[in-house]
Symmetry: C2
């Protein structure tokens, strides 16, 4: 299973697309990657200070004043039909006035610019120490965290939860259309493989099932994907980045309480002290010849693809990195994947960025991850109970006499978020579902400056997204709660006036036979 | 307020559109109305037996066999991907095999043909006695009942319930686009006026309110509309038909229980025994100079428009009829409107077709309606509790010694429907909301043959519609419950990637200033 290793000295460059193309994988690029301007930066119309790197670095602390929820922000977020009063925006004076785009001046871009961060690659990816970038949070790292968080959010947005759909439990979109359908066409990544996991009695209420007898799969659910950065994005970030993204579960804290219990030995691990939670491990490793999508386990599927991609890109002489990400249950699976990849593939920088993930294993597991140089950043909302599970009793409540291999332990660094830091969120509620929601996490990351300061005034991410699946936004903002719903629960009116469940486009029907295509040679790689 | 009367002998014809146009309103049509073929009949591709009138009349009793829920019907309703087995449709042998339209044979038309029923006008409209057409139910009358029911359903489908909308409580669409937006472009009617009613403390939980301060109206809700048949439809049905359609309430039986109580004298009515429910009457008659939309009451708004239209069409020498319709609370308002119109406009045939309407007045009110020759057809689902309200205690439970003017009484004829007659609906449930749902009513009318027979095999109306706002359909049909919902609760993603409440198109913004336009002369009346 181990990869053939490449010599590190030959892998500094990402090949260019366009007319520099040469046949074969060893084409020498004409420009070093850090000289290439990033075209995506032009996607935003009003240029905020971060657009310029040095300006950004100088102004980071200057912009760290906290804000309330005044009329000016209501205007900024398009919640009023009136033009904003220029006098009332005095506290935003560290920022240039955004150029009004629409006639009514109510529309501002939601995207931050994407700078060339290739020179900071080891720091941002975490292979060097992340800690100096965390307090205050470096804007480049913030944007990368949000990027991976949006990749994780995509697993929810693309999941077919509709029990009346024959494809309940699958991904709504085919691999080539995935990012485009989810508004991530400009992410600079392409999906290489879909991952499936099978139902297992030892994980309660996990599988989403169709009411149809002729469903696409009775045993498996779509569980995530493997993606890779394209040439342009690889140049921008300084390496070919493989991303594994695991879907979490919509079930909430009670679900994690149900599974807390058994720590289990990792199969094939020499250190018999290393133990991980039984339920997560069974989801990750279960397979059955009787199924269509899990003749191989989630573990085997993901490792096969990581190995294929690492081999491919290393053969091209590129720097390759692996980032494993996920929210909630997906964050737990991310740690297992990172552990396995770092154990089996030599010289691969592996990092984990998890959101609201529960504990996965014991102290020996955490120690082993450290030895394997897996860099882990756990993004955690203070009010969210899931990261305290399982093992809240053992870890928080004492029982110090218990042997260490039976105590769940968190790994890596924590980026601690606080619901009360945001002027947009309700404070003092007990909305556990809202605290755990990934969109709440992404909103708080977007506004995060440092552990002791308020919400970032220059945060651009659309606050309305918070309420997609919860009601955490203040009522003043007038965003409906749980607004992410499909028209007519997916029913459509056909040409004869009948309301029917639409057939999926043939390319979006899941098929276990559809293998990843051979990657195009660099010159043909024209992903947006 | 009384109309100038026209002599009945001059009003037999509806003017033709097209090249027969002459200026003025007294143009003599070149063909009598009952000779004109109805173009709408060609809208359906497969011609069922009802397409031919004599065939229809002969086969009415032949098709009255009841059915179960076999695979063939699952196929008919597009719930399977397999072609139907021709052998299994043996019990449908009184009907020709529908011509498959799509390649998969899964799509059949939902619309019944619209025959020329002008010669039956007095019977169908009810100005002659309706009873001979009710058991078994004449297919022409069934279609007319469904037509008015769909007009009533449109008041729900077009109502803005979204409290996050600035226009909560208004109609989503402007008058000219109303029927088109609701899939009723082929109805042959055009909306002439919108009706508003104001909030009133004596009707509990009635007004839908926006959370916005700058809402379109703080005091009024859109409550219905006045429509009129176009030339073609008028020729088909044998008269110029004015329709008043009142919206009901989404509040359920408890709501009606709350209001049961006070019977009140009708203002201006000489007979002091005539009393109607206080809450309905206050909704119908309240007005306030301080409001934008109810400087005149609902009563004044609707009577002004009826009188305008009656005068207009009678001046053209046409036969004019008034049909007042509504579901639930709307059915109660319909009776008040019919009472008022019949009291004030001489020689106007007035009929009421109500769905699941509560009782409105006492015995003297019912008797007065009879004297006024208001024909009333109350469509009632046996399991629905609302038609038993208010006054369930007095009327069902005895208290016979009580004086008659204090006892609520139903009026007119009843078309009694039974949930258990439909093989598509759940039996034995206690879904009071589902029993009362207008779509349940329309489904049962569509399948109704007679009081003692089963569901009509040739019923074409889309059964999926039943579950728009309830869960009455059997689970086997795999139609989601309460599926009528808007995408993302009305939020849309703007060009900058932000999720916002869309601005309404200027023509759909409610305005009390927008008066009904002068009707075009007959030659310019080209409504679809």
């Amino acid at each position: 299973m181990a990869m053939s290793s490449c010599t590190a000295s030959t892998i500094h460059h990402i090949p260019l697309p366009s007319n520099t193309a040469k046949t074969g994988h060893q084409a020498v690029p004409q420009q070093p990657m850090h000289c290439i301007a990033t075209a995506n930066a032009t996607a935003t119309t009003a240029a905020p200070p971060e657009n310029n790197i040095s300006q950004s670095l100088q102004s980071r602390r200057a912009s760290s004043s906290s804000i309330n929820l005044p009329t000016v922000l209501t205007n900024l977020f398009h919640l009023s039909t009136h033009k904003s009063n220029p006098n009332s925006s005095a506290h935003l004076n560290t920022l240039p006035t955004p150029t009004p785009i629409s006639a009514a001046g109510r529309s501002t871009p939601t995207l931050s610019p994407k700078e060339d961060i290739s020179s900071l690659y080891p720091q941002i990816h975490g292979s060097a120490d992340w800690s100096p970038l965390l307090d205050p949070l470096h804007p480049y790292l913030r944007r990368e965290i949000v990027k991976y968080g949006e990749f994780s959010q995509a697993t929810y947005d693309a999941f077919d939860y509709n029990p009346f759909s024959k494809y309940c439990g699958s991904c709504l979109y085919s691999r080539p259309r995935f990012f485009e359908k989810l508004g991530l066409a400009r992410s600079g990544y392409g999906v290489e493989k879909y991952l499936y996991a099978m139902s297992h009695v030892e994980l309660p209420r996990w599988l989403e099932r169709s009411v149809h007898a002729d469903t696409w799969s009775k045993d498996s659910n779509w569980m995530g994907y493997v993606a890779a950065s394209d040439d342009q994005e690889s140049r921008r970030i300084g390496c070919r980045n493989i991303v594994v993204c695991w879907r979490g579960t919509v079930a909430q804290a009670e679900w994690f309480e149900d599974i807390q219990g058994k720590l289990e030995l990792l199969d094939g691990e020499h250190d018999k002290n290393v133990r991980v939670e039984h339920g997560f491990l069974s989801l990750y490793t279960s397979k059955s010849e009787a199924t269509r999508y899990n003749k191989t386990s989630a573990s085997e599927q993901v490792m096969e693809e990581i190995e294929r991609l690492v081999k491919l890109y290393k053969q091209r002489g590129e720097k390759v990195s692996l980032t494993v990400t996920g929210h909630s249950l997906g964050g737990a699976l991310a740690l297992l994947t990172a552990f396995e990849a770092a154990s089996t593939i030599p010289d691969l920088p592996v990092s984990v960025i998890s959101f609201g993930a529960p504990r996965v294993g014991n102290g020996a597991f955490a120690e082993k991850l450290k030895q394997l140089q897996v860099k882990t950043l756990r993004v955690v909302v203070k009010q969210d109970v899931v990261p305290k599970l399982p093992g809240i009793l053992f870890n928080e409540g004492g029982l110090m006499g218990r042997q260490l291999e039976w105590v769940y332990t968190h790994v890596g660094l924590e980026l601690g978020l606080n619901v009360n830091s945001s002027p947009y969120l309700k404070h003092g509620t007990m909305d556990f579902s809202g605290f755990h929601s990934l969109e709440t996490y992404l909103h708080l990351v977007d506004g995060y400056l440092s552990g002791d300061s308020g919400f970032r005034t220059s945060a651009k991410r659309d606050v309305a997204l918070v309420n997609k699946a919860c009601g955490m936004l203040k009522d003043d903002l007038r965003i409906p709660t749980c607004w992410n719903q499909s028209a007519n629960k997916g029913m459509v009116c056909n040409a004869y006036g009948r309301w029917v469940h639409p057939q999926r486009a043939p390319e979006d029907v899941p098929s276990p036979m559809r293998k990843p295509q051979a990657l195009p040679s660099p010159s043909q790689d024209h992903r947006p």
